[in-house]
């Protein structure tokens, strides 16, 4: 990289080294020319803390921070490192690790709680902006919460009133966050052997909030000082996320806003339009974006936009808000996490509306250089900079709030400067997959079943299933890891389920088009994609929607032929460019659900080799899944493929399936 000769002048990134995406490269060059720094430049200037990276800095009391770096040559003989209180490297790394789980789990689960609250208002009919939309999904989820969907009237079984079901579902659901006794109701949706495993280990979460509180307690100075015991609580909190907060968030969102079905859309910053009002919605909860979508598409606002000289209103999303709007409405995806500043740097972003999670504070600094209105909407997520506008969004006044936001954006269209540069890159994508729609598309109304998928895994056309998810990370080349891992997997006939920013990266690369199968897949997977008409990479939604992957895996187990538990499946998980605590929580609930999970970039465990071995080796004996780290994307993919092959062998499907010709005797032997 070119070193700047000027004194004090901060270094800037090399756009070509920073991202594989052309539009990103062009916008980075533009930013540098304009003297605006982005996360890519800051990454060049600020190195990560080497000790923090290893997970062995303890700042949980004011006697520290205690730092326990690994000796240069590694540990020889006994590991005598300890903090002032005597905490070992294992204790410190485990505490830090499960505090990350707590952070991630609370982010997902608090999101879920917000949804549950809106759901309760809708069920109580206290708001008109939200209604129970998908009654089929409501009826499907109700039994899992112990809510009856039928009633006995004079000895006759009748369908129960939808309003009544919705209200009880709302009340039961919201109690999952803080009920005083019992265990999370959704745990029983897991395959039975998995549930029994959790029970035996004593990690069944009691309620969603409690497990996070208990992490904070147990990691307080002088409480839990056994890394294995600490990880038990980490597991419990992670499960409360995946099989609790996240899963409830997904289900309740589906009922409120509709269960996604496959649809067509586009991705990348090129979806912004010079002659349109561009409103970029960034963050995570669909509570906000759903209403913005409705308002922005209303005739009233379109007319208003026209009156201000705009040809229309272009909505676009960033991060999981993008995924939520995409999955249910086909609103195009504007950008991944790392491109958020760039959306403003186009000069064409009339408003960026944000809610929670993954919103960089530097957006405010960038917005200052343009006409862009940066609007925060959530009471728990504000910014200190004075150019940030806060319009608090609450479900009881959702429509008015949304109108105010959209109107403000339209009004801002006139203030747009002349210097606009929207990179001309965008790709088509097919998104909107979910547990239900996959089942439908595997056989239609009459024969839809996951068995179709299993059958083709058994016959070897599909080698296995991968869940590739997670963020972007400015410490690695933007999207490079995502795309290389995914392409290597599909090349080897592994079908990929994706969420979050990996999904956006794949969309930008064109991997979410059905046409890409013939280009990038191995022959078996290509044939399946051709038969079903699907892309080789299926977009399952936002990061709370990783719960969809858990349920899809459960459906695969239930459909039969591939073992009795998620850990029996030829499947693996991956987060090639992770950065957030949410990724650690997701990673761990996948591991604890039996999935071999490989992370890229780094893991904050390297400073505590014994603890690292515990989660990357020992854990497999307990839950069937384990952690792994591999920075090189191709090796990363091959670790997953090797695991898939191992599972195929264990299942006895590593050889070609024989064609069984049925005679009468074999037919009589068929099970009833």
């Amino acid at each position: 990289m070119a070193e700047s000769k000027k004194e004090k002048a901060p270094k800037v990134c090399d756009p070509k080294e920073a991202s594989i995406d052309l539009g990103t490269q062009e916008l980075l060059a533009r930013a540098q020319k304009m003297g605006i720094d982005t996360v890519f430049d800051r990454a060049v200037n600020m190195k990560p803390c080497a000790i923090g990276m290893q997970g062995i800095c303890c700042k949980n009391c004011s006697m520290g921070p205690c730092r326990l770096p690994l000796p240069k040559g590694g540990i020889e003989g006994e590991d005598n490192r300890k903090g002032l209180c005597g905490a070992t490297a294992n204790t410190i790394a485990a505490r830090n690790f499960i505090r990350m789980i707590a952070g991630g789990a609370s982010a997902h689960s608090d999101h879920g709680r917000c949804v549950a609250e809106v759901f309760l208002s809708a069920a109580r009919k206290e708001t008109t902006a939200y209604q129970i939309k998908d009654t089929e999904k409501l009826i499907a989820m109700a039994p899992h919460l112990g809510v009856a969907t039928t009633v006995e009237v004079d000895g006759e079984t009748k369908d129960r009133e939808i309003d009544e079901i919705a209200l009880e579902v709302a009340e039961v659901a919201i109690r999952e966050w803080g009920k005083p006794e019992g265990e999370l109701l959704y745990l029983k949706r897991a395959p039975k052997p998995l549930y029994e495993k959790w029970k035996k280990q004593g990690v069944l979460p009691r309620n969603i909030d409690r497990e996070i509180v208990e992490i904070m307690h147990r990691t307080h100075m002088g409480v839990d000082q056994d890394y294995k015991n600490l990880m038990k609580q980490g597991t419990r909190a992670a499960l409360a996320d995946g099989w609790g907060g996240s899963m409830l968030a997904t289900d309740l969102q589906d009922v409120l806003f509709g269960t996604p079905y496959p649809l067509q859309s586009e991705a990348n910053l090129g979806i912004m339009k010079e002659d349109h009002v561009n409103i970029i919605v960034h963050g995570h909860e669909p509570i906000l974006s759903e209403v913005i979508v409705a308002v922005a598409q209303s005739q009233e606002m379109l007319d208003y936009a026209a009156s201000k000289g705009a040809k229309g209103i272009q909505l676009g999303g960033i991060c999981c808000t993008a995924n939520e709007m995409l999955q249910r409405h086909g609103i195009p995806t504007a950008a991944t996490f790392l491109q958020q500043e760039l959306a403003i740097i186009t000069g064409a972003c009339d408003a960026m509306v944000v809610d929670i999670q993954c919103i960089m504070q530097n957006l405010a600094n960038v917005a200052k250089c343009f006409h862009t209105k940066l609007i925060t909407t959530h009471p728990i997520a504000k910014m200190e900079q004075d150019n940030v506008i806060h319009i608090e969004f609450d479900e009881h006044h959702a429509l008015e709030d949304a109108k105010r936001i959209v109107k403000m954006s339209i009004d801002n269209f006139a203030n747009r400067g002349a210097d606009v540069m929207i990179p001309p890159y965008k790709t088509k994508q097919v998104a909107g997959f979910g547990v239900e729609s996959i089942q439908y598309h595997l056989g239609g109304t009459f024969r839809g079943t996951y068995y179709t998928l299993n059958d083709n895994i058994i016959n070897g056309r599909i080698r296995g299933i991968a869940g590739v998810v997670g963020c972007n990370n400015a410490r690695t080349k933007h999207n490079d890891g995502h795309i290389k891992v995914v392409k290597e997997l599909i090349k080897n006939d592994v079908i990929v389920l994706t969420t979050g920013c990996n999904a956006i990266a794949c969309a930008m690369e064109g991997l979410l088009t059905p046409e890409s199968a013939a280009v990038h897949c191995g022959p078996g997977l290509a044939e399946i994609c051709e038969t079903v008409g699907i892309p080789p990479v299926l977009h399952l939604g936002s990061c709370v929607d990783n719960s969809r992957i858990l349920l899809a895996a459960t459906e695969v187990v239930k459909a039969g032929g591939l073992g009795n538990d998620i850990c029996d499946l030829p499947a693996a998980g991956s987060a090639p460019e992770w950065m957030s605590e949410k990724a650690i929580s997701i990673g761990h609930y996948f591991v604890a659900s039996g999935v071999y999970t490989v992370f890229g970039v780094t893991l904050p465990t390297s400073g505590a080799p014994v603890f690292h071995d515990y989660i990357s080796k020992e854990m497999e004996k307990i839950y069937g899944g384990k952690w792994d780290l591999e920075v090189d994307p191709i090796k990363h993919a091959h670790l997953m493929i090797a695991h898939i092959d191992k599972k195929r062998k264990e299942l006895g499907i590593d050889k070609a399936r024989e064609r069984v010709m049925m005679d009468m005797a074999s037919r009589q032997a068929l099970e009833a």
Binding site: F446, R461, I528, E530, M661
Partner: protein, 736 residues
């Protein structure tokens, strides 16, 4: 490419649905909405619609709902770029097409009631070559063949072969493999059926070449047949589409052969069939769908050369069929069983009242006979002039370490169908009233009488290898030899009959189970005792015993009766324990001799169903070949629908024809003296035995006291007759 198939089939779906919607609209304008519509003699309404949706279509008005349902299934058209997934939509479009085709056929029955000829074999001479929907009588009769495996599956063939020779080659190959060939549709006006006729083949249910209809919509009759099998034999509830279709995928071994260009209307039908797990094998260049899943193996395979078509088809469907490899000049297989030798085709015959024709199987000592030796004593066919007659004695001697004298009649009964299995030879009757007709076609191929011996020797070894070590066949054609053999045979028949008829339930400690139909009716268990033949009529106690000896792990297992719980109603602890286990806990107990109190369960294969007639204080019974109304208010097929499927239904019981005159027939309820009504056909068939049994029970005139449809078909109509005749049931203790 699957996308092209999806594209075309979805287009086809729109086309067919719109077209049929138009026809329905027109019909509603022409006829009153309450006008009856439906297929002949079936309790399953329009069977595809009924089985999948539970909708009972009886009137024109009723067609609106399934029509709207079909419309609702139509998915958006497939985009050419960045398309959305299409497999599910493709299958839905296919189903929309199938449902529309069934509606179309229902409308055809309304508009042209005589378009189809409602019988098993068409009337070719009068140009009535299409038989249309199989009624429930055919379904049950033929369904049993699917159940017991004598018909391993069916080929649904649409279109026509390039010429009649190819048509014959393919169809005959299926016949040899015992499959049914369901034919529909035409290719540029040519039909496979016409080609078969042109090639001199006999068509109809009896030769397994079923001429459903000349249009693609007629193919829906094949699916209606398959779905009724799922309901009638599998006990699947109408409306439970998932189970119905999965049942078909797993148990009904059918597939589609598309002969000719596959347009959108065929395409949508083929897509529809995939829902059933029935793949399409085509002779033209169409895109293939090879991955598995909805079907067990490939979904669409093409193009397949005509000479490979049959082998490829059974392979794609995953079906194993045994072709009997028997060294005779004619083709051989169950498909030829129903083939007739008509007067014009006849070369020579024996028996049938013209000459004596007798069959006898005797156990022999191992050292006494030579395996495979076939003796013809007297002139062969070349010594007989065309149109001539000759006497015939077929004497089979069997030796085997496991062979028993009791097995003789069982083996002897095989002779009828085994000779019938020979192409161009017809066999009727049994014992000393046999009748064999030999066609000119057989003579042309070089058939000789010795070939009968070849068949019997080969098949006895093949099918009964466990008990048969040596088989020797002697054929007599000199009148004096035949007469001598007949005399010996008659002595044997008498001894045998006495032994079997005199056998009582009390004489044995072991009954036999029969779970042969579990391939189709997974939870049904029959119990067979000496005085209660299996309800399908095919298996008596001795048959089951032999079957067990032949195949100790097969569907016939011994049941130790154990302690008698109720001697009058016929209940044993050992039997109860057995059925509890074999029915997987569904049935805890049943009575052999009662239809009122916890009767034996019934599957869809039963020959007859008896029902209580409380108003007459008696019972009636009806056979499956009687399609009319009965005094209990239900036709046979309705009765079977109500009580089949392995459930215990007090007041009803399924039984065989033969069982009616057996000693223990509903003896707990009063026995045969309770019988107040039977269809005339059945009554006449059993006349001698009813008379004898009546005398045995002390009512010599019983036969004439039993009413039939000529007396009436309601209780009110027959009661005066019963009173007039002084029927014993009227004075017996109350039935309920």
């Amino acid at each position: 490419m699957s996308k092209l198939i999806a594209f075309a089939a979805i287009q086809g779906g729109y086309k067919v649905v719109s077209q049929v919607e138009g026809e329905l609209e027109k019909a509603l304008q022409t006829y009153d909405a309450s006008t009856k519509v439906g297929f002949p003699n079936t309790a399953y309404y329009l069977p595809v619609i009924y089985s999948l949706t539970g909708l009972k279509v009886e009137t024109l008005e009723d067609l609106k709902k399934p029509m709207a349902f079909a419309r609702g299934l139509l998915p958006p058209h497939i985009k050419l770029k960045t398309w959305l997934p299409y497999l599910g939509p493709l299958l839905d479009a296919g189903m929309a097409g199938i449902i529309s085709y069934e509606i179309k056929e229902a409308l055809r029955y309304l508009y042209e009631p005589d378009f189809y000829i409602a019988q098993e074999d068409p009337d070719v001479e009068n140009g009535k070559i299409w038989v249309g929907a199989a009624d429930d009588t055919i379904l049950r009769k033929r369904g049993v063949e699917f159940v017991d495996g004598s018909a391993p599956g069916f080929a649904a063939m649409v279109g026509a072969a390039p010429n009649k020779e190819i048509a014959k080659m393919i169809v005959e190959d299926y016949q040899k493999r015992s499959l049914y060939i369901f034919c529909a549709a035409n290719h540029n006006g040519k039909t496979l059926i016409q080609q078969c006729l042109d090639a001199g083949m006999q068509i109809g249910w009896n030769t397994r070449i079923v001429p459903f209809g000349p249009d693609i919509s007629s193919a829906v009759f094949a699916l209606g047949f398959a779905n009724r099998a799922a309901m009638a034999f599998g006990g699947v509830q109408p409306g439970d589409f998932k189970t119905i279709l999965k049942y078909n995928k797993e148990r009904v071994f059918a597939f589609v052969n598309a002969l000719g260009d596959v347009g959108t209307e065929w395409g949508v039908a083929a897509a529809g069939c995939v829902n059933w797990g029935f793949p399409t094998i085509a002779d033209t260049e169409i895109p293939e769908i090879l991955p598995t899943g909805i079907c067990t193996y490939e979904h669409v395979v093409a193009p397949v050369a005509h000479e490979d078509m049959v082998q490829k088809s059974v392979e794609v469907r995953g079906l194993k069929v045994q072709v009997a490899d028997i060294d005779i000049p004619c083709a051989f297989g169950p498909a030829y069983e129903g083939e007739r030798v008509r007067g014009a085709d006849l070369y020579a015959q024996c028996g049938g009242g013209k000459t004596q024709c007798t069959e006898l199987v005797k156990m022999a000592d191992m050292s006494e006979i030579e395996d495979g030796k076939i003796n013809l004593v007297g002139p062969d066919l070349d010594g007989i002039k065309e149109g001539g007659t000759f006497p015939l004695g077929i004497f089979v001697q069997i030796a085997g370490r496991e062979f028993q004298e009791d097995f003789e009649p069982i083996m002897e009964r095989q002779i009828h169908h085994l000779i019938n299995y020979i192409q161009s030879i017809m066999h009727i009757g049994q014992r000393d009233i046999s009748w064999v007709r030999i066609s000119k076609a057989a003579i042309e191929k070089g058939f000789t009488l010795k070939d009968i011996g070849v068949v019997l020797h080969a098949k006895f070894h093949q099918d009964f290898g466990k008990i048969v070590d040596k088989v020797q066949v002697t054929l007599y054609t000199n009148p004096e030899d035949v007469d001598k053999m007949t005399a010996t045979a008659r002595e044997n028949y008498q001894l045998r009959d006495a032994r079997v008829d005199n056998m009582k339930d009390e004489d044995v400690e072991t009954y036999y189970s029969c779970t042969l139909c579990q391939s189709f009716a997974p939870s049904h268990v029959c119990s067979v005792s000496p005085e209660r033949t299996g309800l399908c009529g095919a298996y008596n106690w001795m048959d089951c015993k032999a079957a067990f000896e032949i195949n100790p792990t097969g569907p016939n297992q011994p049941i130790e009766k154990g302690e008698c719980v109720d001697p009058k109603l016929g209940q044993w602890k050992g039997v109860n324990d057995f059925i509890y286990k074999a029915s997987r806990g569904a049935v805890t107990h049943y009575n052999f001799y009662s239809m009122v109190v916890d009767p034996m369960t019934t599957c869809g294969c039963c020959e007859c169903i008896a029902a209580m007639l409380p108003g007459c204080n008696g019972v009636m019974t009806v056979g499956r070949d009687y399609s009319g109304d009965t005094p209990c208010g239900m036709k046979f097929t309705t009765l079977a629908g109500v009580m089949g499927g392995g459930a215990c239904s007090p007041g009803f019981v399924g039984h065989s024809k033969h069982n009616i005159t057996q000693g223990k027939f509903i003896l707990g309820d009063g026995g045969l003296l309770r019988m107040v009504w039977m269809p005339k056909m059945l009554k006449d068939e059993l006349k001698d035995r009813i008379v004898a049994r009546g005398e045995e029970m002390g009512v010599p005139g019983l036969f004439d006291m039993i009413a039939d449809e000529t007396v009436g078909i309601t209780e009110e109509e027959i009661l005066p007759f019963l009173k007039e005749k002084g029927h014993p049931a009227l004075t017996m203790e109350s039935l309920v």
